[in-house]
Amino acid sequence: MNKKIISIFFLLILMVSIAFAYIYFNQGETNQNQYDSSGKNVNDTDVANEIDDMFIEEDDEIEIGEIV
C-alpha cells in the first residue's frame, strides 16, 4: 500500500516538473510565433511609430529638475 502511494507521489512530482519545464521552454517560441503570424499586417500607426523612434524631436530636452 505504502509503495503504491510513494510511486504515485513520485509520478506526480515528475509530471508537474515536466509540465513546468515544457511551459518554461516553450514560452519564448509561442511569443515568437504570435509575432510572426501577426507581423505581415503592418498598419499605418505601426509604421509611423517606428519612424518616430528614428528621429529626435527638435524641441527635445533633458530633464534634471527645477532649481526652485
Binding site: I6, S17, V47, I51, I56, E66
Partner: protein, 260 residues
Amino acid sequence: MKKIWTILILLMMLISISSYAIADDAGEDEEEQGDVDSETQKEIGIMNTPLGAEIRLLQLKKALLINILKANMTIEVLKGLEFDEENLTALEEILDQMKELFEVINTTDPSSEDSVQAFVENKSLAKNLTKEFRDAIRDLLDDEDLIALREQIKAMISEEVQNIGKYIHSRIRQFNRNQLYRLYGLIGETDNSFIEQYLNGDVTLGLAKLQICKIINNMTKDRRYLIFSEIKEENIKKKINAEAFIDEMHNKGKGKGKWG
C-alpha cells in the same frame, strides 16, 4: 520507510529552491536595469554615434547651465533680502559644485569611449545637486515666497543659453538629416533636395516624417513589411546598444556606487 520520506522531502525542497533561484535571478536582472531610469536609457540609445553623443552632452550642458543661472539669481535675490550668511554659504557651495560639474561636461569628448558613462553619471550628479539646492531653498522660504521667487527667475533670458539652444537645434537637424538618408536608403529612393530643405529649415520634421510614411504606406504589402522590419530592427539595435552600455557600466563600476 523513513528514508524514503526524507528523500521525498529533500526532493521537494530542491525543486522549490531551484524555482526560487530562477525567479530571483530574473528579479536581479530587472533591478540592475532599474539603476538607470527608462528616460536615460532611451536617451543613450543614440549615443553610439559621435553626433548622437554630442547632442546628449550638449542637452545636459544646457539643462545644467539654466539651473546654474537660476541658482545664481536665487542667491542674489536672497542676499538682497538680507538672509543669514550661513544659510547662503550652503547654497553657494552647491552652486560651486554645479559649476565644477558644468566644466566636466564641457570638456567631455563625445567621441570618447567613456562618453556614455560620463553622460549617465553626470546627469545623475546634476539631478542630485539640483534636488539638494531645491531642498535647501525650501528650508529657507515659505510657499508664498517660493512662488514669488519662481516667477522672478522664470523670465530669465541668457544669451549663452540661447546660443547653446540654437547649436543643439542645428545638431539635431543634422542628426535627423542622417536618419532621413538612412530611411531613403532602406526604401531605395533618394530625394536630396527634400532632405536639404529639411536641413535648411524649409521643411518641418513632421512633414519629412509624413512624406516617408506616405511612401512606405503606398508600397505593396510584402515590401511594406520588409521596410517596416528593417526600421524596427534599427530601433531594436538602438535599444540593445543602450542596454549593452548599461551592462558595461555595471561591469566597470561594480562597487563604485549607483547612478539613476
